[in-house]
């Protein structure tokens, strides 16, 4: 193994990337873990917002619908970087004001929570649109049938709407998940030590820029490819029982 690395001239890179302290591999993996934690949280939070947002857009009153339209339009028109800064400052300000009103003084907000909060609100706008489209794609008779049997609205959502829309929503949600993993990189700019910031710190203190940025790129690619495989299985599962469309266009 060492011989191969030597002949390829990669011995130096391998040393830099080793997991134990003189190498920086451990830092990169910690950064990756932080990134994934935030991506999971933000994706889940976004899904929750999206579910309520989509129901609000489809079944809500006129005021709720207009407010949700403003939310999705503004979030989708303003760069994530700007939104992250605005939401970060608003969030910390609100929490600090609340805590000083209750007499606790300033609160340090953990980077993970702040990241989940800001990325979740951004994800929620996209998830609202994805889920709204998916709910609208359900044959309307299915929902009407459930209503005709007197199903309460929460049970209707759990038993009919969500399972039936899964196959339409999965491709859009897969895209959203990939966006979530890549948007965590933006938190580097507010100083949260996720993968991209860890990489930059490692690179600038060793001057081995290519080694570290390529290694981080490889880590992101692994996450992307692995998620692609997982979502392909989820979609297959969500489409079970539906007729295959292969060869239908001929």
């Amino acid at each position: 193994m060492d011989l191969i690395l030597d002949t390829l001239g990669l011995a130096k890179s391998a040393e830099l990337l080793s997991l134990s302290p003189p190498g920086w591999g451990g830092n990169l993996l910690r950064g990756l873990a932080n990134s994934l934690q935030i991506a999971f949280g933000a994706f889940g939070f976004g899904l929750l917002i999206g579910l309520f947002g989509a129901s609000g857009k489809l079944y809500g009153g006129v005021v709720i619908r207009d407010l949700l339209a403003i939310y999705t339009t503004v979030i989708r028109a303003v760069p994530e970087l700007v939104l992250i800064l605005i939401l970060y400052y608003v969030g910390t300000d609100l929490i600090n004001q609340a805590s000083s009103a209750l007499g606790y003084g300033r609160v340090e907000i953990s980077g993970v929570v702040a990241g989940i909060w800001v990325l979740g609100i951004v994800q929620g706008a996209y998830a609202t649109e994805v889920l709204r489209g998916a709910i609208q794609a359900i044959p309307h008779g299915q929902i009407e049938a459930a209503r005709a049997f007197g199903m309460p609205s929460f049970m209707l959502m759990r038993r009919v709407t969500i399972p039936a829309m899964m196959s339409y929503a999965t491709p859009g949600l897969a895209n959203l998940w990939l966006i979530a993993t890549k948007d965590t990189a933006l938190l580097a700019i507010v100083g949260f030590s996720e993968l991209t910031l860890e990489t930059r710190q490692a690179a600038s203190s060793t001057r081995a820029y290519f080694t570290f940025f390529l290694a981080a790129g490889a880590l992101y690619m692994i996450v992307t490819l692995f998620s692609g495989a997982v979502f392909a299985r989820i979609e297959k599962w969500a489409r079970r029982g539906q007729p295959s469309l292969r060869g239908a266009g001929k």
């Binding site: 006129v62 339209a69 403003i70 760069p79 970087l81 790129g217």
Partner: protein, 272 residues
């Protein structure tokens, strides 16, 4: 300034008639929004604007310039990338597919930093590059920013164009073949126009995404509009005012892009 701005966003779509704005709840919402704008104008600090206006105009111009150059060049690169993936032999389609997958699978911020810090630290070590006429440009940040954003747009659009080329009706191409049309003429007159027409709505959305990617180049010291707002924040410790104006700027540009593409779509009949 409140009424037209809120008109667009309260409706969620620009194609609405003015009459639908006159419903009572929308009037209340607009009044609330106008109140918010007035409150912002009175109680927030705006006295720094005259001092920073020249810099902001320069930054806005740079943002738009970067956006236009990277989308145009990126799209020109995306055509061969899409074509190679749709009909190319394996030795062309494989590299094209790999390129698109890598661009789409890693964060843009990482790509920008890789090019700027990576290439930027490599070039000074190579004597003939330092001696060449390009060196004064390669020492600045913007060539790396433009390169990174162009490659990113090409990667995403290469994937879009692959679907677009594959989606053109085969009968059209067979008809062109039957008339003995040369291959390049067929591509230029029939295949490419139909492919582009079919994906115009997607391209509009992608161009807005590209606009939203431009502030990332501020992290490698390119002074565009986002960098100007950061400078105001760090100089004067004013947080919300520059960010609000910045958000407004991006919303206006995004609206203009959406309107432009809508006009293209109406003209080419892709929206029937």
């Amino acid at each position: 300034m409140g009424a037209p701005g809120s008109a667009v966003f309260a409706g969620g779509g620009q194609m609405m008639g003015w009459r639908s704005l006159l419903q009572p709840h929308r009037i209340v919402l607009m009044a609330l929004f106008a109140g918010l704008v007035v409150w912002c104008a009175i109680s927030l600090r705006w006295d720094w604007i005259p001092e920073y206006a020249p810099l902001a105009i320069e930054g806005a111009w740079r943002t738009i310039w970067i956006l236009v150059v990277t989308t145009v060049v990126g799209f020109l690169l995306a055509i061969p990338l899409g074509l190679a993936q749709a009909i190319g032999p394996w030795y062309l389609s494989m590299p094209a597919k790999t390129f698109c997958t890598i661009i789409r699978g890693t964060p843009l911020l990482l790509q920008i930093w890789l090019l700027y810090y990576g290439l930027g630290s490599l070039f000074p070590q190579i004597p003939w590059i330092r001696g060449s006429e390009l060196w004064p440009y390669l020492r600045q940040a913007w060539p790396y920013a433009v390169l990174a954003l162009t490659l990113s747009y090409a990667g995403y659009e290469g994937e879009v164009m692959r679907g677009a080329f594959a989606g053109v009706n085969k009968g059209q191409l067979e008809a062109a073949n039957a008339f003995g049309m040369p291959r390049f003429t067929m591509f230029r007159r029939i295949w490419l126009p139909q492919a582009i027409r079919n994906v115009l709505p997607t391209l509009g959305g992608e161009t807005i995404l590209q606009l939203k990617a431009t502030p990332l180049v501020a992290t490698i010291t390119v002074v565009e509009i986002y960098a100007v707002s950061s400078r105001v924040r760090s100089d004067l410790f004013i947080v919300y005012e520059p960010l609000l104006l910045l958000a407004l700027f991006y919303m206006i540009i995004a609206g203009i892009i959406a309107l432009l593409f809508r006009r293209f779509e109406l003209k080419t009949g892709s929206r029937l």
